[in-house]
Symmetry: C2
Subunit: 229 residues, 2 copies
């Protein structure tokens, strides 16, 4: 089956968690909005008033299905592309982990946008400094600690491992000083990151133009003042 | 099967979305942490170092399964307790809606805690006012509008309808002025709320002592200053 991924074409964002899974699996997919007139196609779906649509990108077309919400898409794709077992207990467990990553990602986003997603960073810089401090001191270690523990039991690579790779990549970009200090405490997480990065199809993807660079429009953003103090 | 729900005993919080489903279905369940020594049992699971556990309450024990993340629990329970169809397309659609409700709920929480969940409200009151203003003006109407549209197509009551009932209840408690002004624009949502409230088992639950009252420890909190301006 050829999958159609719909997501903003100029950022990694939430779509990247799906791109990583599709790329690692060598799945047949189109990153629709990065093609000519693809943004129009995406907006047309979102604004289709004749029937209810997903709330926001990313969403995935798989045959007749249109699936929204990143973790839901990975839950669907996992067993189909060899990145999750087929049994329900294992799928529920992985999905729970992915939903916890989703919660973590919201907190990363809110470090630079604690007041409103519709406002510029500069309009909430003071609040962003306070929130980032709280995130770096309390929340970030809590999530890192949790997944370090989880990874002790997960031997086989799944879409959750790919997502954890992405979290480490993004956090290194956004908070290099903090991550430099914290990483030695979480060897299993870093080992997983490295192991994922070496997978042949993923390594090829990361070196290709299909991998969009981190930038200040995405979820992970580097503002030095949010990584200090 | 007797389900065991684990959640904080003094708030509605995220656990309430599961309580509503179990109660409406007339399911056999125990609200463990509200029983004698139940908090100890819950903490013991969370702190069990011998194997990985859910990140946080709520979680549900169903036979040998221990399932975390509210939306994941409802995804599991839905078809088993008659609150979701069994087919995968319908389940994926409902789950996506539930995950959008989860996103919405985080934004509600962050109106009073925009800087850090570990800080008191009073320590972030100024930021909370700014975030609440943005939420009431931009985000709240966006979510209400989305679900108003969705409900036009959903005839049969599912766990998503119960969750939308809870969102309306909570928002009325937290933002009475704002909701008074906005509600007339979303008749389908209010009709759904009322229809859910009248379901016999749910009405009995809501009138019972099992229904914890809204309070200033939960996710929905009423601070008049966050509902004005």
């Amino acid at each position: 089956m050829r999958y159609e991924l719909y997501y903003w074409p100029s950022i990694q964002g939430r779509g990247e968690f799906i791109r990583l899974a599709l790329e690692d699996a060598g799945a047949d997919y189109v990153d629709v909005a990065r093609r000519s007139r693809g943004m129009e196609a995406m907006i047309k779906i979102l604004e289709n008033k004749s029937r209810a649509q997903p709330f926001a990108p990313p969403f995935l077309r798989a045959g007749r299905l249109l699936i929204g919400q990143t973790a839901n898409i990975l839950h669907y794709l996992g067993p189909r592309i060899g990145l999750a077992p087929r049994g329900e207990p294992a799928r529920l467990w992985l999905h729970q982990l992915q939903l916890t990553i989703a919660d973590w990602l919201v907190e990363v986003h809110d470090t630079h946008h604690p007041i409103g997603a519709g406002l510029y960073y500069e309009q909430q810089k003071k609040e962003a400094k306070r929130r980032s401090l709280d995130f770096r001191r309390h929340r970030l270690p809590k999530f890192l600690h949790y997944f370090e523990r989880v990874l002790r039991e997960e031997k086989r690579i799944t879409y959750v491992h790919l997502s954890l790779f992405q979290m480490v990549e993004g956090l290194r970009y956004a908070f290099p000083r903090t991550m430099h200090r914290l990483e030695p405490k979480y060897p299993k997480l870093i080992e997983t990151h490295d192991r994922v990065a070496e997978r042949p199809r993923l390594a090829a993807y990361l070196a290709s133009k299909r991998r969009i660079a981190f930038n200040r429009e995405g979820i992970f953003r580097h503002y030095p003042e949010l990584d200090a103090g």
